[in-house]
Symmetry: C2
Subunit: 315 residues, 2 copies
C-alpha cells in the first residue's frame, strides 16, 4: 500500500478487523461537561484489546499480508503498546511474532508481550541497537517488519477509531487526538475528511515532547530528541507518511504542560472511574488549558490507551 | 414500610428511581474468565451516580417520603458512600440534606458531599458522638433520619441492582455480593428469590471484619468491633432488618484475606481498566481463594463502588 488510504480502504479495514477487535464504548460525564460548559464524548480505547488503539492498526496490517507473507511471522521493535498489540494480533491469527524490546522496558509491558505469545529479544535501549537487533532477527527468521506507524495499513487501521465515533455522534465541532508518531492522528484526520468533514481535528502533545508541534509549524520533520514527559506513548517523532497527512489535515497541534496532563488523568480516573494512561490524558489537558476555545462545543476525545498500573495511596 | 419488601415493591422501586440513577453496564473479561475457567459477569456500580450502589437506596428512600415529610430535609451520619449518595439524591430532588461526618473522614468524601450541596456537621469519630450530633441536628431541623441500611426502602432500592443483572443474564449459578451492613446483600437476596430463584447468593466479607460471617454462623448479630481492612465500605455490622433477610436467604458468607482483596483489586484495574474501591474487590477475592467452587460456573459479581483515588507509582 503506497498511497494515502481512501474512504473505501478505511471502510474495508473496518469490516476486516471487526471480528478481532472490540468496538469500544463512547462515555460521557455530566460533571466534566459542567466543568467546561461543553459536551465531551470520550472514545475509550483503553478498553481495546491489549489495552490500546494499537490493536486496530496491528490487526489491519496483518490481515493485509498474504498467507505466504505471514508464514515466517512478523517482527517489530517497541517498548510500548505496539509491541503488545502486534503480539496479540499475531497470536489471534496464529502467526509467530518477534518483538525486540529495550532491556529497560517496563516489566508490565514485557509480561503482556509474553502472555500474548510474542518471542522477545532484548537489546540495549538505544535506537541504533533496536534497529540492529531487529535487522538480525528479520534476517534469521524472514519475518515481515511491521512499523508502528510509518505504514499505510497501520494508519488505515487506526482510522477506524474515529470512524466509529462519527457513526455514533454527528456534528462534532472538534476531535482531539494524542500525537506521538502520528499514526492515530493521521488516521483520525482521514476518517474526519471522509466521514465528518465539518469537524476540526486537533493534535494533543506534551510540551516536553513537542516535536510534532514544531514539525508542523516549520514544515519539516524534527526528530524527537530527549523527550521528557510522563506520556510514555508519545515519545516518538513523526514519519514521512504521518507527517504528510497531518500537515494537510490538522487544524492545529496544541501542547500541554506535564502538570495539566496529571490533573486531567486524575480527573478522568476519579470522575469516570476508568483507568487511562498519561498519553490519553493529553486530550482533556488541551481542554483544561484552553476552555474558551471549546465553550459550548461538541468534542470528541480519543482516550488512546489504559496500560498503567496505579497504586493505592501510601501503599 | 415495616415488612420485608415484596416482588412488587422492588419492581415499583425500579420504575420510580430509574430517571434518577444510571442503569450500570455489566462487563466481562475474557482474560479473567480464562484464569478461573468460569464465566464472570461484573455489575459495575462503580459507574453509578455518586460512585456507588448507595444511590439506589437513597433515591428510593427519598421518593418514598411525602412532600410534607421532605419539607424539612433528610439527615444521616456517615463517613462513606451513603453520605455522598444521600446528599446527591436530596440535591436532585431539591431537598435539603444534613450529613454528620466524623472529623477524620477522608477529604475526598467530604468534598463529594459538599459538591452535592449537603450541609455537613463534623463530630468526633465515635459512634456515640455521631449519634448524639445527629440527634441534635434532627431536633433542630426536623429533618427525617435515613439509616444507611436498617430501612426497608433502602433495601428495596439496593435490590434493583441484582434485578438488572437478572434482566440481562439468566441462569447464573452464583451471585457474589460484598457485605458490610448488609443492605446490598439483603436486597440482592430478595431479587434473587423473586427473579432468579435457582441462583445461590454468596456474601463476600474481609477476614478482618468478619462480623457478618460470625453472626450468620451463630444466629446472633455481633457488633463490628475494631475491624481491620482496606475495604472501608464494609466496616459496619448487620442490623435487625438485614440480618433477618440474610440468615434466611444467603447460601454462605465467605471471608477473604486482605492480600487477596488487594490482588483482586489490582487485577480488575489492570485487566478491565476500571477503577473499583477495595470493598468491590472482595467479590473477586472470593473466586481467587475458592476457584474449585466456581469451576465452569456462571457468576454474577457486584462491584459495589469506585470511590478511591489511586496514584501513579512513585508519585
Amino acid at each position: 500500500m503506497d498511497k494515502t488510504p481512501t474512504k473505501i480502504d478505511i471502510e474495508f479495514a473496518q469490516r476486516k478487523i471487526a471480528p478481532f477487535i472490540h468496538r469500544t464504548p463512547i462515555l460521557t460525564s455530566s460533571s466534566i461537561d459542567k466543568m467546561f460548559s461543553s459536551k465531551l464524548f470520550f472514545k475509550c480505547e483503553n478498553f481495546q484489546k491489549a489495552g490500546a488503539f494499537k490493536m486496530r492498526g496491528a490487526t489491519n496490517a496483518l490481515l493485509s499480508l498474504s498467507k505466504d507473507e505471514l508464514k515466517n511471522g512478523v517482527a517489530t521493535h517497541s517498548s510500548g503498546n505496539h509491541a503488545g498489540a502486534l503480539a496479540l494480533a499475531a497470536n489471534t491469527l496464529s502467526v509467530q511474532s518477534y518483538i525486540v524490546m529495550p532491556n529497560n522496558a517496563p516489566s508490565i509491558k514485557v509480561e503482556a508481550v509474553k502472555s500474548y505469545g510474542g518471542n522477545i529479544t532484548f537489546c540495549k535501549p538505544t535506537l541504533a541497537d533496536r534497529e540492529k537487533t531487529l535487522d538480525e532477527i528479520v534476517k534469521k527468521t524472514s519475518a515481515v517488519f511491521i512499523h508502528p506507524y510509518d505504514d499505510y495499513h497501520i494508519i488505515t487501521g487506526q482510522a477506524t477509531c474515529a470512524k466509529e465515533i462519527y457513526e455514533e455522534f454527528q456534528k462534532l465541532d472538534y476531535l482531539i487526538v494524542p500525537v506521538g508518531g502520528g499514526g492515530l492522528l493521521s488516521g483520525s484526520i482521514l476518517s474526519t475528511k471522509y466521514f465528518s468533514a465539518s469537524t476540526k481535528v486537533i493534535g494533543a502533545e506534551p510540551m516536553g515532547a513537542d516535536d510534532a508541534f514544531r514539525s508542523i509549524r516549520d514544515n519539516t520533520i524534527y526528530p524527537s530528541v530527549n523527550p521528557k514527559t510522563i506520556a510514555d506513548g508519545l515519545l516518538t517523532s513523526l514519519s514521512k507518511k504521518t507527517f504528510g497527512i497531518i500537515k494537510n489535515g490538522v487544524e492545529k497541534i496544541i501542547t500541554v504542560k506535564e502538570e495539566t496532563i496529571k490533573t486531567a488523568m486524575y480527573l478522568i480516573w476519579e470522575r469516570m472511574k476508568i483507568l487511562i494512561e498519561p498519553s490519553s490524558a493529553t486530550v482533556l489537558a488541551v481542554v483544561i488549558e484552553n476552555p474558551e476555545l471549546f465553550l459550548n462545543k461538541r468534542l470528541g476525545l480519543i482516550l488512546s490507551g489504559g496500560n498503567i498500573s496505579p497504586v493505592t495511596k501510601g501503599k
